[in-house]
């Protein structure tokens, strides 16, 4: 006969903590509950474990450039539905709802800016808008900022994030890979520096074009970076994927990126690199 009974702890374990929505965020990495204001202050990085949350393009630009130096280009350029794409929902519907949800016009913001006094052409993708897929607008705005920078003899910095091509635009979206990479060929011929920053996640068509073409390629910690999606790879190869597969650290280990830089140090790192490659 047991003298001691196992204590019943049900009441302690089953209790879920209620969180008012919109005020607190739970870190998916360390489970710390963080006040949204603290998260914002810390550039959407968990103060406890350093997990990098998605950072919107506006906040990203503010975090990188000299105050008031950003001059946006092509702010009103917006997507149309060139194929009249009808799936379960139409492309036109999707565009409308994402514009409303994010307050953005499309998935990239571009413009001229200064970083520690260095003039640069800057493009920042925003994963919140249709998974930052690349359609005609993304391709055109990126191409224009590259061409503008070539003309102005400036470095280009592209902050990438993308789920890939925007299939609602069919082959028009695939060809944006050629258009943007072509513009980079001319920028490179002019011996101008090109820096890419790969954020979570950067994949597929964007990865197989301008994201991989930087003279310097920087990744954010733990960012998922790759060509094919892990599910597709698992289904095609029937292999177990390595634990760190397609993370920034995996790419660093295999020699595919120059360095991994945490968000708080991104601006100073860019400034250091521009000190070597940029012109004031």
């Amino acid at each position: 006969m047991a003298i001691f009974k196992k204590p019943i702890l049900r009441s302690l374990t089953s209790k879920t903590r209620e969180m008012p929505t919109g005020l607190w965020t739970k870190c998916p990495s360390c489970s710390e509950v963080i006040h949204n204001f603290a998260l914002e202050e810390n550039l959407q990085v968990c103060p406890k474990c350093g997990h990098h949350f998605n950072l919107g393009s506006r906040e990203r630009i503010t975090s990188l450039v000299d105050p008031d130096s950003f001059e946006e280009h092509d702010a009103s350029m917006s997507s149309v539905d060139p194929l009249g794409f009808k799936g379960v929902t139409t492309y036109a519907d999707r565009l409308r709802s994402y514009k409303q949800k994010t307050g953005l016009v499309d998935a990239v913001t571009t413009g001229g800016a200064k970083i520690n006094g260095h003039s640069v052409g800057l493009g920042v993708m925003d994963f919140n808008f249709l998974a930052a897929t690349m359609g005609s607008v993304v391709g055109e705005k990126i191409t224009r900022i590259i061409e503008f920078s070539t003309k102005q003899k400036m470095p280009v910095i592209l902050v990438c994030a993308s789920g890939g091509a925007r299939m609602y635009e069919g082959m028009l979206s695939l060809m944006q890979m050629a258009k943007t990479s072509g513009a980079l060929a001319l920028h490179a011929q002019a011996r101008l520096p090109y820096i890419t920053i790969l954020t979570n996640p950067t994949t597929a068509g964007v990865m197989a074009s301008y994201a991989s073409l930087g003279d310097i390629i920087i990744a954010e910690p733990k960012a998922m970076i790759g060509f094919a999606g892990p599910r597709v790879i698992r289904e095609t190869t029937h292999q177990t994927l390595p634990a760190d597969f397609q993370t920034a650290e995996f790419l660093e280990k295999h020699g595919l990126v120059d360095l991994i830089v945490e968000r708080a140090k991104m601006r100073s790192t860019l400034s250091d690199i521009l000190g070597y490659l940029g012109s004031k």
Binding site: D74, S76, M77, S78, V80, P82, L83, F85, K86, G87, V88, S136, V137, G139, E140, T143, A165, M167, E169, G170, M171, L172, S173, L174, M175, Q176, M177, A178, K179, S181, G182, A183, L184, A185, L186, A188, Q189, A204, G205, M207, A208, S209, Y210, A211, S212, L213, G226, F227, A228, G229, V232, I233, T236, Q239, L241, P242, F245, Q246, H254, L256
Partner: protein
């Protein structure tokens, strides 16, 4: 020839069987069935015209994947002479899914490359079902540089379901291999012709597809995503691939209309697999014609118009 019959081809195959029967009877029994035979032949022609005159996008996708369809090395054999295969990327290995080398097309010395599928399991394992690894794209780039160095035009045959999604491919940076090709083809100082002969599978196709002339065989498709992949994402099930194929506008006529592809090479009645020699003739004649024009164009002008062509691609409003 391995003749796999597609659903919509069945009426034609059935009539062809009847015709065979008529021919056999007239031969064996020495009876005059000439009028029946002629009417059957007319019927076959009419049915063929009806079926192939109104192909849906999905039907074309099926033809483009037909097991009996001529593959890259079939065209090398039929449309080129003196092929010398050149292997390897000089870095890691040789990718058998994308063979390439020196070849003469209509008297013009060229560097050729193409994605190659297999017809049986053994060959498909060797060719990786036509899905290249990074080594394929890096070999292609090596051969492009060779073409540029020796002043040969570069001719690429596209026929891939897509670049290979695998662990090794990611470790050796397939995305970078494709990206570098796309960028460097834009500035390659020699004429480039790319022809989609079967499947034009997304980035894996574009990785050898930036060209002065991008051409497609009549029943080939060129798409940003496979119809099955698109259906799985947008319709939540692969069975909707026919609708996805329609929506993606991935057939040659639509792509020409949108200015994304420069021209269509006609296929013999019933598709390239019905008369591979004819298909090869059409390809050779087209390459010859295009290369004659391109080789007379000054290189600076060629590069400008190559850039301008891709630069114009995109539809948006401001």
């Amino acid at each position: 020839m391995n003749k796999q019959t597609l659903d919509f081809e069945k009426p034609i195959v059935e009539l062809e069987q009847k015709l065979g029967e008529l021919l056999r009877q007239s031969e064996e029994r020495k009876i005059d069935l000439r009028s029946e035979i002629e009417s059957m032949q007319r019927k076959i022609e009419a049915t063929r015209e009806r079926v192939y005159g109104s192909l849906t996008a999905w039907q074309r996708v099926q033809i483009s994947r037909h097991i009996a369809r001529p593959f890259f090395l079939d065209y090398v054999r039929m449309a080129c002479t003196d092929f010398v295969e050149l292997k390897g990327d000089r870095l890691f290995g040789d990718d058998a899914s994308m063979p390439g080398g020196l070849a003469t097309i209509g008297g013009i010395r060229c560097v050729v490359i193409g994605q190659q599928k297999g017809r049986d399991m053994k060959e498909n394992l060797l060719r990786n079902f036509g899905s290249p690894h990074p080594e394929g794209y890096r070999k292609a780039l090596r051969l492009m540089r060779m073409a540029e160095k020796f002043g040969f035009p570069f001719v690429a045959f596209i026929d891939t379901p897509g670049a290979y999604p695998g662990i090794g491919a990611e470790e050796r940076h397939i995305a970078e291999a494709i990206a570098v090709n796309i960028r460097d083809m834009m500035a390659l100082r020699t004429p480039i012709v790319s022809i989609v002969i079967g499947e034009g599978g997304s980035g894996g196709a574009l990785g050898i597809g930036v060209a002065d002339r991008v051409l497609m065989l009549e029943n080939a498709y060129y798409s940003v995503i496979s119809p099955e992949g698109c259906a799985a994402i947008l319709w939540k099930h692969r069975k909707h691939a026919p609708e996805a194929a329609e929506a993606l506008k991935l057939c040659a006529p639509d792509l020409v209309k949108m200015g994304l592809v420069d021209g269509v090479i006609p296929e013999p009645a019933g598709g390239a697999h019905c008369d591979p020699e004819q298909a090869a003739d059409n390809i050779r004649a087209t390459i010859e014609k295009e290369l004659q024009i391109l080789s007379k164009t000054p290189i600076e002008k060629l590069l400008t118009s190559r850039y301008e062509k891709f630069r114009r691609m995109g539809v948006f409003e401001e």
